[in-house]
Amino acid sequence: MSGVSPDELGIIALSLRVAIVSVAFSLPVAIIVAYGLARLDFPGKTLVDAVIHLPLVLPPVVVGFALLVLLGKRGPIGSLLNEWFGIVFAFRWTGAALASAIMGFPLMVRGIRLSIEAIDQRLEVAARTLGGSRLWVFLSITLPLALPGIITGTLLSFARGLGEFGATITFVSNIPGETQTLPLAIYTFTQVPGGEAEALRMSIFAVVLSIAALVTSEWLTRRAQQRHLDDRG
């Protein structure tokens, strides 16, 4: 097997960009939503919970189609975003990132929520009596204690983003250099006579990327726990 070709490198780079951007934008939202579901009581909580979990149970193609209808250039939300902010998702790599973010969101929220729920709530109460505002207690107690869950949730969502296929191809199509991520490229090669070898190479890249993500997450978790111990302030 020879070195990685520029075309292949472009596909890998695009896949990473899509997955990283999707995770970076969804993480803050996921933390807030997970905290809300774990710690607050509000009307419609069950509904919010159900809506967040929808991408997990719906066929990805349906999610992609919904995005296309809502966020397409003429869609009710897409047209407004374009008009007001000049933001276009349809048939752009940003759309692929959005599709990845939505598909990975329930996994991310779930991981974070579980780790927040596992924190003894009395620790937060104790911190309040010691003079911490609600926000400071969240930042100094809840967030660091939930860190392992945040890392796990991020990894799951990142991996889901790398592998995202159905919603992406439906929403932003399969445009080389713009929206053709690794899974889409693999699919394309399997449709071309004699493309199996290239599909295999691409699949190996996908495996390597996934393992690298897993190892990084393990390393981050361990480092986070180590930092807690060394933290003097």
């Binding site: 003894d120 009395r122 620790l123 109460v125 104790a126 911190a127 309040r128 009596t129 010691l130 003079g131 911490g132 505002s133 400071w136 100094s140 107690i141 660091p144 204690l145 807690h228 111990l229 933290d231 003097r232 302030g233």
Partner: protein, 362 residues
């Protein structure tokens, strides 16, 4: 000074408590489920009463009618919970300083160095909280609450999770806090020995209501509160001063208004105030002063009242000098000796019936 007048519904439990207490240590006493924790949670601002007001040291913290509800982080009330609740991701020092770092410099009056020395935490500072023993954890929790610079310290059964040697250790530390930092403490407990040893004023709670407030000796000695204070633990408290040590026999003499007590050696200087608790079942009665007897404490007194409860056991309230003493004897002895109110007699207390837990610095 603590003024509480609150009404609160917690599930099926109705809390309706009103009391005013001022003392270096206020004991909040009652059986489990009496509402003790609910009261201090309301004082700390963790829960919100439906009606009423809470005032600590002339600062209004809560007033339902006027819509005042100071946030817990702004109340400056130190809370030591039953469990230490140390932050597991921070070491001991970082736990200790958590609250102090959040207070404006103008509010700082308790020095970290002083608290660390007072609670013996110097060698623990770099330790992870998971490696501490139960007693050490509770000491760190107390230090952390103190360094948040509280106006008042609430302690919710801080000894409940500890074994007996640790309990004695923490009790000594709490007494040092009271004497050296002069910070008012509300001490919640269902244990008569703990309340008797620490508290000056006691608030007795039962089923969400306040039954009595007053001097510990007076309130805990009341026979009508026996269903709450418990028959087994009945006793009386004497405020005494150390008058001398007998180093040969390792004994200490304590004087109170109207008599003196000999107790096993006590590590306290002559002149120091010491509180002695005498359990009613450790007091015997004699009509004549006995001689040639091993009992070292023979106190002349007069019968004030007799608790006429049916059953084999009777409590006799005695006046000894200015103090009240309860003797627990059988009904048979009462009848055989024909003991009645107003009678002069002698109360006998073995010196060995005093232990570490019944004698403490006042």
């Amino acid at each position: 000074m603590i003024e509480v007048d609150i009404e609160q519904r917690l599930g099926g439990f109705h809390l309706d408590v009103k009391f005013v207490a001022e003392a270096p240590i206020v004991g909040l006493f009652g059986r489990s489920g009496a509402g003790k924790t609910s009261v201090i949670n309301a004082i700390a601002g963790i829960t919100k009463p439906r009606r009423g007001s809470i005032r600590v040291n002339d600062t209004l913290l809560f007033d339902a009618a006027r819509g005042i509800d100071v946030a817990p982080e702004k109340r400056r009330i130190g809370y030591v919970f039953q469990d230490p609740l140390l932050f597991p991701h921070r070491d001991v020092e970082s736990n200790l300083l958590y609250g102090q770092r959040l207070r404006p410099p103008a509010d700082l009056f308790i020095e970290p160095a002083r608290v660390i020395e007072l609670l013996g935490l110097r060698t623990l500072l770099r330790r992870r909280t998971q490696t501490l023993s139960g007693g050490e954890k509770q000491r760190v929790a107390i230090g952390r609450a103190l360094l948040a610079q509280p106006r008042i310290l609430l302690m919710d059964e801080p000894l409940a999770a500890l074994d007996v040697p640790r309990k004695t250790e923490i009790l000594n530390y709490i007494e040092r806090l009271r004497d050296e930092l002069r910070i008012p403490i509300v001490y919640v407990s269902h244990s008569v020995p703990e309340i008797a040893r620490l508290a000056d004023t006691v608030v007795v709670l039962s089923e969400g209501k306040c039954l009595a407030v007053g001097d510990v000796d007076a309130v805990m000695g009341r026979l009508d509160l026996k269903p709450v204070t418990g028959r087994y633990e009945a006793g009386s408290l004497l405020d005494t001063r150390v008058t001398g040590h007998d180093s040969e026999h390792q004994l200490t003499t304590l004087a109170f208004e109207g008599g003196q007590l000999v107790v096993p050696y006590l590590d306290a200087a002559v002149g120091e105030r010491v509180r002695a608790r005498i359990r009613a079942r450790d007091v015997s009665l004699a009509l004549l002063r006995p001689s040639e007897i091993s009992i070292l404490n023979i106190l002349p007194g007069r019968v004030r009242s007799i608790d006429h409860e049916t059953g084999p056991i009777v409590d006799v309230q005695l006046v000894v000098g200015a103090a009240t003493l309860t003797a627990r004897i059988t009904r048979r002895s009462l009848q055989q000796l024909d003991i009645h109110a107003g009678q002069e007699l002698y109360a006998l207390v073995k010196a060995v019936s005093f232990d570490q837990r019944s004698v403490g610095y006042a």
